[in-house]
């Protein structure tokens, strides 16, 4: 039960060329999508808060690789990567960012608030840590229905200090809910480095008091994330209750678009990018293992560029929501 640190690197990855290419492609889609979102923000086409996921791509892509059909996911406002990774349409996501009728929430949610019942994506939440009990509630519903599903509940290192997280840990363990708590530790909560906010650095041990097993995972290595995810999901599906994964990652961009990022050095960011980039890592595995040629990768790059370009075009061309939308979706009609 006790939280423990896995030091061993996953054994020589038992992974096919096709799988590696899929991860490369999925991570690259997130990165290029986010870069484009940053550009559109710069042009004033996206407003308000816009939190980019660049640098953290291996976390969702690795965990989605461990998920099965019907499993659920819920996260914070830093949600674009989660949506793309679970198969939501980049056009609809980008159009929500620009506040257009073609967006997932018809333009009424914005960057932080999107949902897809079809893909079992439950948002998109703007209150730090509010998604944690909500995720446990989704798992509660699955347990009630005995359907064998697991919910991935993502939150940040900053969110890990909210009281409702521990209220949730207690009930999730007490009721043995099938939920994987994924702490995306990108080392900062806005401008606060983790050491300035957190009395003990090892967030994966935070479930120990509740008897929830926890592991720390290298979040820049998609294969390590996937392996940890599979283990956690297996425990949940076996009815053993919740599991905590502290995934060490890093965000390259500011907290949101308006973050001057004076709390860390340029060198720190540059070093991460150069030495630990999760996409370069898979790229190297592909090339060194001779699973793909430079040309193969170029053609993936091209394909991604086209998808993102199309999403951006859609997001600019989709009309603004009809004014009548102001008054819709406040109440659901009773199904007769």
């Amino acid at each position: 039960m006790a939280a423990r640190k896995t030091t061993a690197k996953p054994a020589k990855p038992n992974v096919s060329a096709e799988e590696l290419k899929t991860y490369y492609r999925d991570m690259l889609l997130i990165r290029r999508f986010e870069e484009k979102a940053g550009q559109l923000y710069g042009m004033g086409l996206i407003g308000g808060f816009c939190h980019l996921y660049i640098g953290q791509e291996a976390v969702v892509v690795g965990l989605e690789a461990a998920a099965e059909d019907g499993d659920k996911r819920i996260t914070s406002y830093r949600d674009h990567g989660h949506m793309l990774a679970c198969g939501m349409d980049p056009d609809g996501v980008m159009a929500e960012l620009t506040g257009r009728a073609g967006g997932y929430s018809k333009g009424k949610g914005g960057s932080m608030h999107m949902f897809s019942k079809e893909k079992h994506f439950y948002g998109g939440h703007g209150i730090v840590a509010a998604q944690v009990p909500l995720g446990a509630g989704l798992a509660f519903a699955d347990k009630y229905r005995e359907n064998g599903r697991v919910t991935f509940t993502y939150f940040g290192d900053g969110a890990a200090n909210q009281g409702q997280v521990y209220e949730t840990f207690n009930m999730a363990a007490l009721w043995q809910l099938p939920v994987v708590f994924v702490i995306e530790n990108n080392q900062y909560a806005m401008g606060t480095a983790q050491r300035r906010s957190t009395s003990t650095p090892d967030l994966y041990t935070r479930g120990a008091a509740f008897g929830i097993p926890g592991e720390v995972v290298d979040g820049m290595d998609v294969l390590a994330v996937k392996a940890a995810g599979e283990k956690a999901v297996a425990a949940c599906r076996a009815g053993k209750g919740p599991y905590i994964l502290e995934i060490k990652t890093y965000r390259y961009r500011g907290h949101s678009m308006s973050d001057p990022a004076k709390y860390r050095t340029r060198e720190e960011v540059q070093k991460m990018r150069e030495e630990r980039d999760p996409i370069d890592h898979v790229r190297d595995l592909l090339l060194q293992g001779k699973h793909a040629t430079e040309d193969d990768l170029k053609s993936i790059d091209k394909e991604i560029k086209a998808i993102v370009g199309k999403a951006a075009d859609f997001a600019r061309e989709s009309p603004e929501p009809d004014l009548g939308e102001l008054w819709t979706d406040i109440y659901a009609e009773a199904a007769e």
Binding site: G44, G109, F115, Y122, G137, Y144, E167, D329
Partner: protein
């Protein structure tokens, strides 16, 4: 073909900024992620990173330039070995402004600010058919029966809260439910309002129909973020995809001598929130019929009960499936001289006052709103058009009270019919004191209702 680098918007409110410093010069090779310039926004100095790679062909806006509009071309990026064609340098053109930025509060069309007007039709259908057998029941029993009936009818309905199971409810509302439905559906929670409210909302997102009991609504303040930000707003934020069929219920308002932290009426707080429905029954039949409606409703419902009323008995129709709809007031007494509008325990004072006033020849019409969101303002307006006077009675505080809202509605919809200013009777504007005599003074009293009616009647 050169790519224009545009002056970026670097904050939600930035429209222009100062190009403080170029960190690259013409001819430099730049890669994605390199810092090109420092830009001062309305909030901070920001580093501006390159997205594309290439060679900086030409700087169009020199450093130190102030008030550079967002989207103005500030430099040209060319490919390795390419030269900037002078023809490509367009004058720093008027930046294209996206459509939504042109809409200001002055230019927004009036259609955007029209408000749905209150339903004109008054629904006067009786709550139960004539001839229905009535039985005496306490509010407590009626609430329990409502939950039990709905739980029998729908396996997805479950009850969670502190002491709802083995203890049979802190106020014995869930008496017998654990025995009948088992621990899977009647769930004792730890003392952790924020957490279990969130779990309840998540379970509702996941398709179940939770009833979340707060031991009292005073403790729901710990959970109010989940109630409002998660339960009430998600349907809207999801463009209609993600409903939240949940009922939050428990006693609300002052009990007796329990002091300031345990004696507060939250009616106006929750009635303020679009996306919530709010019911506050007075009688046992309304408690039963409205709670059944609440559990069936596909939206989050705040169901405000009252500890003092739990033990009171009323007539309840003996019907297989009795429900009361939201948004339909009940006229307890018809009258011709004044309209008294109340809800919840306030009805006790309203009805007592009407009784006494009748002895003095003043005929009061007493309306129980029953649900506060939606609110049946049509019935109130129709009544005031008949009586020309109105007094509202509630237990909550006076600032931003339910009565204030009713006064505003009457001013807009029945101004010409009013013969006197509307009086809003509320609890006093103080935290609830403990001392017995002070507590009585802090609450609304029957005497105050009588006095207010005399004031608006000028008699």
């Amino acid at each position: 073909m050169a790519t224009e680098i545009l002056m970026p918007a670097l904050s939600p409110t930035m429209e222009e900024g100062t190009l403080a410093k170029w960190l690259v010069k013409e001819g430099d090779t730049v890669a994605s992620g390199d810092i090109l310039a420092e830009i001062e926004t309305d909030k901070a100095t920001m580093e501006f990173e390159a997205v594309d790679e290439g060679v900086l062909g030409r700087i169009l806006v020199p450093e130190g330039s102030a008030a550079v509009a967002v989207n103005t071309p500030i430099a040209l990026l060319v490919e390795e070995g390419e030269a900037v064609q002078d023809a490509e340098i367009t004058a720093p053109a008027q930046a294209p402004v996206p459509a939504d930025k042109t809409l200001t509060s002055e230019s927004a069309p009036a259609a955007a600010i029209t408000h749905p007007s209150p339903a004109a039709e008054v629904d006067t259908t009786p709550d139960w058919p004539e001839g229905t057998v009535l039985k005496k029941q306490t509010v407590r029993e009626a609430l329990r029966d409502a939950m039990a009936e709905e739980m029998r009818g729908n396996g997805d309905v479950f009850l969670m809260g502190e002491e709802v199971g083995e203890y049979q409810g802190a106020y014995k509302i869930s008496q017998g439910l654990l025995d009948e439905f088992g621990a899977k559906r009647v769930i004792d929670t730890p003392i952790t309002e924020h957490g279990f409210a969130g779990i309840g909302v998540g379970a509702a997102f996941g398709g179940l129909t939770p009833i979340v009991e707060f031991m009292t609504f005073n403790f729901a303040m710990q959970a109010i973020d989940q109630i409002i930000n998660s339960a009430a707003k998600t349907l809207y934020m999801s463009g209609g995809q993600m409903g939240c069929p949940i009922t939050f219920r428990g006693p609300n308002g002052a009990a007796a001598r329990v002091g300031a932290q345990h004696s507060q009426d939250y009616a106006a707080w929750y009635a303020h929130i679009p996306g919530l429905k709010v019911a506050m029954p007075y009688s046992a039949s309304d408690a039963k019929g409205l709670l059944k409606s609440a559990i069936r409703d596909p939206n989050p419902v705040i169901f405000l009960e009252n500890e003092i009323l739990y033990g009171r008995s009323f007539d309840v129709p003996d019907m297989a499936d009795f429900t009361v709809p939201f948004g339909k007031a009940r006229i307890w007494r018809s009258g011709t001289d004044v309209t008294i509008v109340s809800f919840g325990i306030g009805m006790t004072y309203a009805l007592e006052a009407a009784e006494k006033l009748a002895e003095d020849g003043i005929s009061a019409e007493v309306i129980d709103l029953r649900s506060l969101r939606p609110m049946d303002t049509a019935t109130v307006i129709a009544s005031v058009k008949k009586t020309n006077r109105c007094v509202t009675v509630e237990e909550g505080w006076p600032v931003g009270a339910i009565g204030n809202h009713i006064s505003a509605v009457l001013m807009q919809e029945a101004f010409d019919w009013l013969d006197a200013p509307v009086i809003n009777l509320t609890g006093k504007d103080v935290p609830m004191p403990y001392a017995a005599n002070l507590e009585k003074h802090a609450l609304v009293t029957t005497a105050e209702v009588i006095e207010a009616v005399r004031t608006v009647s000028y008699r």
